[in-house]
């Protein structure tokens, strides 16, 4: 949990260097996507301080328990982000690629719908809360 920007590449390199014995490292980075009309000024991410940290810790622990992982990383920003900024990142390290991929998808599905973050798009015409996609809730049913 951090307000500051992060460098996804530097995080990936450091994570991978520490993951002794890993044969497979998967990363997912979420970026602030522009609106369909291309007029995004900023994305504001509200969160629930205290619960957020608990939720991220619990989601990471659940991934480590469910999959054969060497390590897992979860980074999520809050506050005001510019278009194209990285919002969050997960990375997983495992001996084999199937575990690394599945764990990264699991972490993302849970972060989307079970961690207390709310995104708001800011454009010249005002602020609009992002509506969750039906697929995001459906994706959780896989696990």
């Amino acid at each position: 949990m951090q307000e500051a920007a992060f460098d996804m590449g530097a995080e990936l390199t450091a994570f991978s260097a520490e993951a002794t014995g890993a044969g497979a490292v998967v990363s997912f980075s979420g970026l602030t996507r522009d609106t369909a009309s291309g007029d995004l000024d900023a994305m504001v991410i509200e969160h629930f301080p205290g619960m957020t940290e608990k939720a991220l810790t619990a989601i990471r622990a659940e991934a480590l328990a469910r999959f054969s992982l060497i390590d897992a990383l979860v980074i999520h920003r809050h506050g005001r982000l510019a278009p194209g900024d990285p919002i969050m990142m997960v990375a997983t390290a495992a001996r084999h690629r199937a575990d690394a991929f599945a764990a990264a998808e699991f972490l993302m599905d849970y972060l989307k719908s079970r961690a207390p973050f709310w995104k708001q798009e800011i454009t010249a015409t005002g602020a609009k809360w992002v509506v969750p996609r039906d697929e995001d809730e459906a994706a959780l049913k896989r696990w």
């Binding site: 629930f48 619960m51 939720a55 972060l111 969750p132």
Partner: protein, 82 residues
């Protein structure tokens, strides 16, 4: 005494992110019914319960979750992280 927290558009519609209420509600659902009676803003914000999620003491719960021993209830829209 119960601490109530609101987030995102629930916070905006109710007009505050935090209030303290007297309640003997047994469950989150009962508490929401009481909160809706507090003002028109509360009633409007909480009118569509399909769009409301709850956490008791920072753990996600369903509306049937008991409030016995709880210190804080948070109400908010579906989360949009990631």
């Amino acid at each position: 005494m119960m601490e109530i927290r609101y987030f995102a558009w629930l916070r905006e519609r109710i007009g505050t992110g935090h209030e303290v209420v007297e309640t003997k509600a047994a469950t989150v659902g009962d508490l929401i019914t009481e909160l809706k009676a507090r003002s028109e803003a509360h009633a409007y914000a909480l009118s569509d319960l399909g769009a409301v999620r709850a956490a008791v003491d920072q753990t996600l719960v369903g509306f049937d979750a008991p409030l016995r021993g709880a210190r804080e209830v948070a109400l908010f829209p579906p989360m949009t992280g990631g």
